[in-house]
């Protein structure tokens, strides 16, 4: 019971963006971090899984083929949180999160409102509940988008750089929340993320993509080696691994051009 990508290719316009990705698995109860340089195809991969971007190949979620399912069917089980969450909608934070719930389930109003209030509270958003989205900072808006994601209670939750605009406090708070969500509710969580130290600390599993290809998958300690980092990012980095802790990466220098 997990998300398995057997084979996945995707073209945008005339460009082949994903090349036969295969052998990737994300398990429930775990956080899988998706890493790779800019333009590697992280967002495209997550969108293809969600059914927002057309792709060909074969993937299964809990044993069921995803490619035969429509966007509407897929989004009952999974949710994709876009990288760009900016909007100028004249909606209050509460209304926006309620909307995320309402486009998914029909239920008594009382239950929906309670679920929204709880999601807002989990992300420390309750003081902003009546603010309009247009009047939020980028980071606040990003946390609202995360609240919109969790209020839908998906089986598979995919977040596209969800901490890119967050301060240190909220980076830790959000990732800690997702970690607990995965563990307690047995959710499959996939996060595209650039901060390797956060990935090393919170992820149970890493997917590495570069130039639309699957480079390697595995546990953070196995993947985040100086050689791999040189191969993936064209950087020189030190990796320390204190016993009983997660790997710690200290980038030294960018060596050569990263390519494409």
């Amino acid at each position: 019971m997990s998300l398995i990508i057997d084979q996945l290719s995707c073209s945008l316009g005339k460009r082949r963006v994903l090349h036969d990705l295969a052998g990737m698995e994300a398990r429930p109860g775990e956080i899988t971090a998706l890493i790779g340089p800019n333009g590697a195809g992280k967002s495209t991969l997550l969108r293809a899984i969600a059914g927002i971007t057309m792709a060909s190949g074969h993937m299964t979620l809990d044993g069921l083929s995803l490619e035969t399912q429509s966007l509407g069917q897929r989004t009952r089980k999974l949710y994709y949180l876009p990288q760009d969450t900016s909007t100028q909608a004249a909606l209050s934070v509460f209304e926006a999160v309620l909307l995320a719930r309402r486009t998914q389930v029909v239920e008594p109003n009382r239950h929906a409102l309670a679920a929204v209030a709880q999601a807002l509270q989990s992300l420390e958003l309750d003081p902003l509940a009546e603010r309009e989205l247009a009047a939020l900072s980028g980071g606040q808006r990003q946390r609202v988008a995360i609240a919109q994601a969790i209020v839908r209670r998906p089986r598979l939750l995919m977040l596209d750089e969800p901490t890119s605009a967050l301060d240190l406090h909220h980076q830790l708070q959000v990732l800690d929340y997702l970690h607990r969500l995965a563990r307690q509710d047995d959710v499959i969580v996939v996060i595209a993320i650039h901060d390797l130290n956060l990935a090393a600390r919170f992820a149970d599993h890493l997917w590495v993509v570069k130039e639309g290809r699957h480079i390697v998958s595995g546990r953070p300690g196995d993947v985040l080696t100086p050689q791999r980092l040189r191969e993936i990012y064209a950087i020189e980095a030190d990796v320390e691994w204190p016993p009983g802790s997660s790997p710690r990466i200290t980038p030294r220098s960018a060596t050569r051009r990263l390519g494409s």
Binding site: R47, A50, I52, L71, G72, R74, T75, R76, Y79, Y80, L81, P82, D84, T85, S86, T87, Q88, A89, A90, L91, S92, F94, E95, A96, L98, L99, A100, R102, T103, Q104, L113, A114, V116, A117, Q118, L120, Q121, S122, L123, E124, D126, A129, E130, E132, A134, A135, A145, Q148, R152, L172, Q173, D176, Y177, R180
Partner: protein, 359 residues
């Protein structure tokens, strides 16, 4: 890491819900107040006009028609009421269509006529006025109305069909709308070139917009367009609200944004085509009505839709009163006045609220 945020206190979430309920109450209150203002405007609209009847007499004629003179009965029921109701129905139609066009096209400057509907309708009207040609087998004043309606729908169906075939992006839709507008303007120009002075004047008068030809039948038909489309919009209320978060996020919520756009576009077309067919091109209401509604209650369609309808109805009803009273004894074309009445209100709202809803 300590899980300080993981045990939600129910007291806190109760207050969050309570604050949301307070916002909803405020929205409902504003909607009710606007509805009341619209009703009063309707009454005043019926009470004004040549013949100087007192408001009390007019009210009596409305509530107990048998107790007033036959003349007053006819004036109120057969002449003034259809016109006053037409203002309400058309105002609501244009504002709803405008609100949804702004939502669908993700553009604050969109209005019911953005995709070329008014040019197509004007060409249809010109066909009837200049050539006496009708696309529908009807005669008399209905010839003009039928032409305007059919061509307006045709323009929208062209965009609808092309978008269906080639995929729907907002940009293509808007560009096709511009192309259609130029196309029908060119055809219209051709007709104007060969038209007699008399039919030219008739055409200009039509394009300025007028409620004066309203009848119960026309009010009924215009109302029918509302009755048909409003339930569709209400059913799609959550999906339409989600569109304001951007296409990707709406898709992530499972919404087929392309299909939603096409369906809603048809409903907007029906509303705008009906309005323009019966009363000519009345601008501004469909642009400003939704803006006022947005500033007052926000864009959650549960409040935005009724509020847009009401602000549109109120603006056009007030304009109707103004068109009769501004120069005593003369009925001004309503299309000229919509801007004059809507503008001060609109500007004051923009200046008093500092928020930037659209970038």
């Amino acid at each position: 890491m300590k899980a300080t945020t993981f045990s939600p206190s129910s007291a806190n979430s109760t207050t969050t819900v309570a604050r949301y309920h307070a916002r909803q109450r405020r929205q409902r209150w504003l909607i009710a107040a606007t509805a009341l203002a619209t009703l009063m405007s309707l009454l005043l609209d019926i009470a004004t006009g040549p013949g100087a009847y007192a408001l009390s007499d007019v009210t009596k004629a409305l509530l107990a028609p048998s107790e007033v003179s036959r003349v007053l009965q006819v004036v109120v029921w057969d002449i003034r009421l259809p016109v006053a109701l037409m203002a309400i129905v058309v105002g609501a139609s244009l504002a709803i269509a405008g609100a949804q066009m702004q939502t669908l096209l993700n553009n604050p400057l969109a209005d019911p006529f953005t995709l070329g509907i008014s040019s197509a309708a004007s060409f249809g009207a010109a066909l009837a006025i200049v050539l006496g040609f009708g696309v529908l087998p009807v005669a008399g004043t209905l010839l003009l109305t039928g032409n305007a309606f059919v061509l307006a729908m045709l323009a929208s169906l062209m965009i609808w069909g092309l978008s269906r075939l080639r995929g729907v992006s907002v940009q293509t839709m808007v560009l096709m709308g511009i192309a259609i507008m130029f196309f029908f303007n060119a055809l219209l120009g051709m007709l104007q070139y060969v038209a007699s002075a008399e039919s030219l004047q008739q055409l200009v008068f039509w394009s300025l917009g007028s409620l004066s030809k309203a009848s119960w039948g026309k009010v009924g038909l215009a109302g029918l367009a509302l009755v048909v489309t409003i339930p569709v919009f209400v059913r799609a209320r959550w999906r339409l609200t989600a569109l304001r978060l951007g296409d990707v996020q709406a898709q992530a919520m499972g919404i087929d944004v392309g299909r939603l756009r096409l369906r809603m576009l048809l409903c907007c077309a029906l509303l705008s085509a009906t309005a323009v067919a019966f009363v000519g091109t009345i601008g501004f209401v469909g642009l400003v009505g939704p803006h006022i509604a947005r500033l007052l209650v926000g864009e959650d369609q549960r409040a935005f839709l009724p509020m847009s309808a009401l602000t549109g109805a109120l603006i056009l009803s007030l304009t109707s009163i103004l068109s009769k009273t501004l120069i005593p004894g003369i009925l001004l074309p309503i299309g000229i006045l919509t801007a004059l009445i809507g503008l001060p209100f609109f500007v004051s709202l923009i200046l008093s609220s500092r928020k930037e809803i659209w970038r």
